[in-house]
């Protein structure tokens, strides 16, 4: 039998899928909720998330996206992103592995935790999970051994919630080992959240019955069965309790005592059909067939797939026959034969649909994930392949098999996404390489031309020059280019005039040149401070752009040098990854087919059993019809 991965659904009996998902969620949620024992935070409140990566994991985990959560957590561990949540992350990883169906990995992780120095509550948690897994695998002795490491008597506030589930498991383990008396003790002593109190009480009642304390057990269950309910969950538990009591008493031959318990079960709840059937039988046992008809007729028109309804098709005419209304009984037996025949045909069609692989197709194409998927399945239109699906999904083994099928489908989808992406990566790398090859020569030339060093040297030289001008008060050093030209022309004229023979005209010209020279010097000297200020300002203003230019040039050089890193070295990795993706795809496809075949076999077994049961009912109906004809003295086949 495949492993169970429920957190609390630890018995081999069938579970409703939604409750199963809720259980997984609830139990695992407490893993990360029990982080901060030192601060005495309530256990159902998360500790403050101090690593972003851990918060990301929780975001996926709380949405039951276990694959993503596990993947992200392992990545965060590998990259050292968990500075504050390292220890509890390992516990969370173990719990999530369990939820994702990775029992072996979960076991290894919990065992590894037990070999490390961890806080007592983390150790207890690990032992609890190991115990629960052992129990799920049908090894109650191992479960008991694991639970023995936990001090169940330690009831400090921070541990209260986990102790409650540990004690609950302890009680179940005792019962499974045949220690009903110890189980009674465990459930009697159980302390925990109020919303789980009823379950402990129910289990106590059952344990009492198992230990031979029949009266006490019935009394315990009776009390629970009439306890006021506030919500659907409590109502469901009341129904379950009363139904159990009713059938227990009915089997003990105490029909009169059983009847009120069936009446306590809600008429619209999921157990109502069974309660109606039981109520009718309680009346019939007391030979009150007229009374028995009331619940049985209510049941008679209900869902034809329901086994209780199918039984009522026989029970109602049986009651009429007992009341002497043979004609009505004959009529109803004939209707029952037709109904059973229809049901047998529907089952044949469902089995044929299985053979054609339509059930697996439906299971794989129904949208949604986690709990929402089960809702989607419940809403599917009724076809031969979906007609019995919900009933089959209520069975634990079938449900686990379907989960694995859906997980494999999820793996297949993920691998296909990666197959497409890796192809894109290849193109991307190739495009980058081509683009680099095309642009590299031009970029190289541009970078060569980008002579920022010369500009920097020029800036430094100008700075030095200005310092010298300032130190020497050299106003000429700050002449404009026009003034320098004029100065040069005046010097040239002066030299020419010096070479000319002396004459009045030459003297006049020399005076004129000297005046012009003096005027120029005067202007430069007079303007020196303003020019010096302006020169310094201009030099300062060039500093920032020059720095920016240097930085840009350095980045451009760096980008040019590192550009090949955007494509070099990736080719081989991408090729390897693509190959691994392809290999995994092949494995997933074959495993998916095998799992589909396994589910088909499970479904075939279930439907075949149903078919045989319906055939048995059909034989009974025909036999009863013949007997009724006989009793009423009617010829077989006559109209009533």
């Amino acid at each position: 039998m495949p492993h169970q991965r429920t957190a609390k659904g630890i018995f081999a009996s069938p579970l409703h899928s939604l409750c199963l998902a809720a259980a997984l969620y609830g139990a695992l949620a407490s893993i990360c909720a029990q982080v901060d024992s030192a601060s005495q935070k309530p256990n159902d409140m998360p500790g403050e998330v101090q690593d972003l990566a851990y918060g990301e994991v929780l975001f996926d985990f709380y949405q039951e996206n276990y694959f993503d959560a596990i993947s992200r957590l392992q990545q965060a561990q590998a990259q050292g992103e968990l500075n504050y949540h390292a220890k509890e992350s390992e516990l969370l990883l173990g719990g999530m592995s369990l939820a994702y169906g990775l029992d072996r990995d979960a076991t290894q992780r919990f065992n590894a935790l037990l070999n490390e120095t961890v806080r007592p509550e983390v150790r207890d948690r690990a032992w609890y999970y190991l115990g629960r897994m052992a129990f799920q695998k049908g090894r109650p002795a191992d479960a008991a051994a694991a639970l023995a490491h936990i001090d169940l008597q330690d009831d400090s506030r921070a541990l209260r919630k986990q102790r409650a589930e540990q004690r609950m498991l302890f009680g179940h383990v005792q019962l499974a080992q045949g220690n009903a008396a110890a189980a009674v003790q465990a459930f009697s002593d159980w302390k925990g959240p109020a919303d789980e109190r009823d379950y402990a009480d129910y289990n106590l009642g059952i344990a009492m019955l198992e230990s031979g304390q029949v009266d006490a057990g019935l009394k315990q269950l009776d009390k629970l069965g009439e306890r006021p309910a506030d919500n659907d969950e409590q109502y469901a538990l009341r129904d379950k309790t009363n139904l159990a009591l009713g059938y227990r008493l009915l089997q003990a031959g105490k029909a009169a005592q059983a009847r009120p318990y069936f009446d306590r079960v809600r008429l619209q709840g999921p157990l109502s059909s069974r309660a109606l059937l039981g109520a009718g039988w309680a009346d019939a046992e007391q030979e009150q067939f007229k009374q028995a008809l009331i619940p049985w007729l209510e049941l008679h028109g209900r869902d034809s797939r329901d086994l209780a309804t199918q039984e009522s098709w026989l029970a109602v005419p049986y009651a009429y026959a007992q009341l002497g209304a043979e004609a009505r009984a004959v009529e109803l037996y004939q209707a029952a034969i037709m109904a059973f025949s229809d049901e047998a045909r529907a089952l044949d069609q469902a089995i044929a649909a299985l053979d054609q692989g339509r059930l697996i197709e439906t299971l794989l194409t129904a949208e949604g994930s986690g709990r929402s998927w089960f809702w989607q399945v419940a809403q599917l239109p009724t076809t031969p392949e979906t007609r019995y699906l919900i009933d089959m999904l209520a069975g634990h083994r079938f449900q686990e098999a379907v989960k694995n099928l859906r997980d494999l489908q999820d793996l297949r989808n993920r691998l296909q996404v990666w197959a497409d992406k890796t192809e894109t990566f290849e193109h991307m790398v190739e495009t980058r390489r081509l683009r680099y090859a095309a642009a590299a020569p031009r970029l190289h030339d541009d970078l060569q031309r980008l002579d920022v060093d010369t500009l920097t040297a020029r800036h430094e030289s100008l700075g030095t020059e200005l310092q010298q001008i300032t130190a020497n008060n050299d106003a000429n050093g700050l002449m404009t280019s026009q003034e320098r030209l004029t100065w040069a022309q005046l010097e040239f004229i002066s030299a020419r005039l010096a070479r000319l023979p002396d004459s009045q005209q030459v003297r006049d010209l020399r005076d004129k040149q000297a005046r012009l020279r003096g005027l120029l010097l005067w202007e430069v000297e007079a303007d020196y401070k303003a020019r010096l200020r302006m020169a310094k300002k201009n030099l300062r203003e060039t500093e920032a752009p020059l720095r920016e230019a240097n930085s840009l040039a350095a980045r451009a050089q760096s980008a040019f040098a590192t550009a090949p890193a955007a494509f070099e070295g990736f080719d081989q990795r991408i090729v390897e990854m693509r190959e691994r993706v392809r290999n995994s795809q092949t494995k997933v496809d074959s495993t998916l087919a095998a799992q589909g075949a396994w589910i088909t076999r499970l479904a075939q077994a279930d439907l075949t059993l149903r078919k045989q049961r319906v055939d048995a009912y059909l034989v009974q109906a025909r036999f009863a019809l013949a007997q009724t004809y006989d009793k009423a003295g009617l010829p077989a086949g006559a109209a009533p």
Binding site: M1, T6, G9, S13, P14, L15, C19, A22, A23, V49, L52, G55, E56, L58, F59, D60, Q63, F67, S71, Q74, Q75, Y100, G101, L102, D103, R104, D105, L175, A183, Y199, Y202, I206, E233, R248, P270, R274, L277, E285, D306, E311, Y318, D407, L411, F570, M577, R580, S584, V588, A594, W598, R601, A605, T608, Q612, R613, D615, A616, Q620, F623, Q627
Partner: protein, 204 residues
């Protein structure tokens, strides 16, 4: 037997499944009917054995566990490759969202702009909001940004106190260095029990 076996919280609905045993309940029928029913039951038990699956489900389960581990490992390596290719560390920016509010604000959507360009617009589901409330942190955006100053603006839309429509923004100028940048958009009502607070925090 209906009253056998203990019950966990999650097992409650096991009773939905019918485990009717026709022969037990038809004890009131005639002896001849009983004979037929018993014969049918014997027939059923033979058939059940005949339809048992030949392949070991344990082996298949082990195979599935191996495969899940294999794909998990591959998935991690592929994510690392993708990150290196698409979001190199020197340009990478990641923006996260966390929510720590009571009844003061119900988030509907977030719009994220970087340098006046919308990079993400996200609508939230009930499941996501529930995950936030339990400490989950969402990676809202992952992208590339050049070194230097950039303005990040987040617009939060939802329902505020008393169910009124509520739109609030938060902004931050980030000086992006050469390493990856991590920002967290935080919605909290820790400071005030009556008003939510919207902040952008830069992680070192």
């Amino acid at each position: 037997m209906y009253a056998s076996g203990c019950l966990c919280k999650t097992q409650l609905s096991e009773a939905i499944k019918m485990t009717t045993k026709p022969t037990q309940r038809y004890r009131c029928l005639t002896q001849a009917w009983r004979g037929v029913a018993i014969a049918m039951l014997l027939c059923l038990s033979c058939s059940v054995h005949a339809t048992e699956a030949p392949q070991s489900p344990q082996a298949l389960d082990g195979q599935i566990q191996d495969l899940k581990q294999e794909v998990l490992k591959l998935n991690r390596e592929l994510f690392a490759l993708e990150e290196e290719l698409l979001f190199p560390a020197n340009t990478q920016i990641s923006v996260f969202l966390s929510l720590d509010v009571g009844g003061t604000f119900a988030l509907d959507s977030v719009e994220l702009k970087i340098d006046d360009k919308v990079v993400t617009h996200y609508l939230y589901t009930e499941r996501e909001l529930a995950a936030f409330k339990r400490g989950g942190v969402q990676r809202l955006h992952m992208g590339n940004l050049k070194a230097g100053k950039h303005e990040v603006v987040a617009l939060f839309v939802g329902r505020g106190p008393e169910g009124r429509d509520y739109r609030r923004g938060a902004n931050l100028v980030v000086d992006k260095g050469l390493g990856p940048a991590f920002l967290e958009l935080k919605i909290t009502d820790k400071a005030s029990k009556h008003q939510p607070e919207f902040v952008i925090k830069e992680w070192e």
